[in-house]
Symmetry: C2
Subunit: 280 residues, 2 copies
């Protein structure tokens, strides 16, 4: 497998640095944190100042405060990284590490069963954010992508999450614009509507060469205790030779295992057409 999907990362901060947009003290401080993203995990003071749209003096003052607190760490060469203390606080995010911690054994089982790349993702607005990404030691070409984002309609996890979102949200998302990554990317609202209905009917979403020309992902929704879909699980495989009928039950089982571990009881939940709970 030479090329993997999701290899063209978008910045976790939305791709564009905040420039001149930070007018209040909290905004200025947060713009310093927002200067760091997947393409820029290590920055010198000048980079931070430029990316955050702050004067060098202001950037210096804020960086010092963040470093003292432990949100940033400065290495010997004067380059700043995100610090351990921020990681500790962020580990409390309910949709981050705690979800991942519950899901990990099921993701590992799925990896054992398929030996393919396994992901866990949640929805944030119109994007999926990857919370976990398991790849075997031998899976070359997989870099760290936890925290990466992609639009909902282009990925398996995104389709699984979108198909179970609020109907109003689905409608507004569906009418686009729908970004295109390959000739296979779904960009037609009507086709997307049919695909989402199929996802709800089958309990699984397939994204076939929608992100790169050579990869396919199979995803299934994860339900929270009240039945709402809170996350999605997927495997990514080479398009050539992909055994979708074999992957679907494995991915669905993993997703149901995580859902049960989160407290979901499918037998107690009656769902409406959109897969949302309609009373217990």
């Amino acid at each position: 497998m030479t090329a993997l999907p999701h290899s063209r990362l978008r910045s976790s901060s939305g791709g564009t640095p905040v420039r001149g947009g930070a007018t209040t003290a909290p905004e200025r401080l947060l713009s310093v944190l927002g200067a760091f993203d997947h393409e820029h995990p290590a920055l010198c003071l000048t980079d931070i100042s430029r990316r955050a749209g702050l004067s060098l003096t202001t950037a210096h003052r804020l960086v010092r405060a963040l470093t003292e607190w432990g949100a940033l760490e400065r290495d010997e060469s004067g380059v700043y990284h995100v610090g351990l203390r921020l990681w500790e606080v962020a580990a409390l995010a309910p949709r981050g590490l705690p979800l991942r911690q519950v899901a990990l054994p099921y993701l590992e089982d799925l990896y054992e069963a398929t030996h393919e790349n396994v992901q866990l993702a949640v929805r944030d607005g119109g994007e999926v954010v990857y919370i976990e990404w398991l790849a075997g030691r031998s899976s070359v070409g997989v870099h760290i992508r936890v925290g990466a984002r992609w639009p909902l309609h282009a990925t398996g996890v995104g389709l699984a999450l979108l198909a179970h979102g609020e109907p109003e949200f689905q409608e507004s998302y569906r009418v686009g614009p729908l970004a295109s990554f390959t000739p296979c990317t779904i960009t037609d609202p009507e086709r997307l509507r049919r695909v989402l209905a199929e996802v709800r009917r089958t309990g699984a979403a397939v994204s076939d060469r929608q992100i790169t020309d050579d990869a396919l992902s199979v995803a299934a929704p994860v339900h929270g205790p009240d039945g709402t879909v809170t996350a999605a699980v997927s495997v990514v495989v080479p398009h050539a030779g992909a055994q979708v009928p074999t992957l679907v039950p494995a991915v669905r089982l993993a997703a149901r295992g995580i859902s049960r571990a989160l407290g979901w009881r499918p037998e107690e939940t009656v769902r409406d057409g959109a897969g949302r709970p309609s009373g217990r």
Copy 2:
């Protein structure tokens, strides 16, 4: 295994909320983030204001800014949690998720080989911070402890990290005070000195009932590319029936595997008595 070590968590923010200590704008904003810890992952505005030592008006203003940015999320009941955006930025911390991502396959192998709880930790000042904690689905009693802290001398990972720290740091740490958790906790500086020498000699650290009366951990150091010890790996087992001679090679192998994956080449590194590199 009814009781596990490290079950009495200290707060990740050091245990005490910031009160009245935040005088600058950045400090006030960070004190809001610092109000969240393992015992307080969800807070209402009044809690935040009290724990951060801020007026309700100031807390409200800062919480709103943090929520707009995505560092906090507000649920339907008005309770605040740490937000996904903060988790995404924090995922860039080199000693957090990236380290964990490299280490995970080796931790999984160690778990497969031992079927015991497996941890990865780094040192922050005089404490260990857990970066990863693997526990099987059947391991009851294990809660989320990623981000938890314990003093160095009481844990296996802490002893492994301390034994390979700068000699001056070891000296200043050793003279204490050394907090006691059980009658077995090392509190005597001279005994600690002998234990640390033994850790360097054998390549493994054993913490026997130092945190709780019934658990034992075996740890080994993880080396970075330049040979310095940057993390430690351990397994935690019930004291009764613990097979230390069997666990030591498994833990050491996992630690060396992670070290190699990080770029360490032991054959190229000559070390001095403290296990630090002394030229290549």
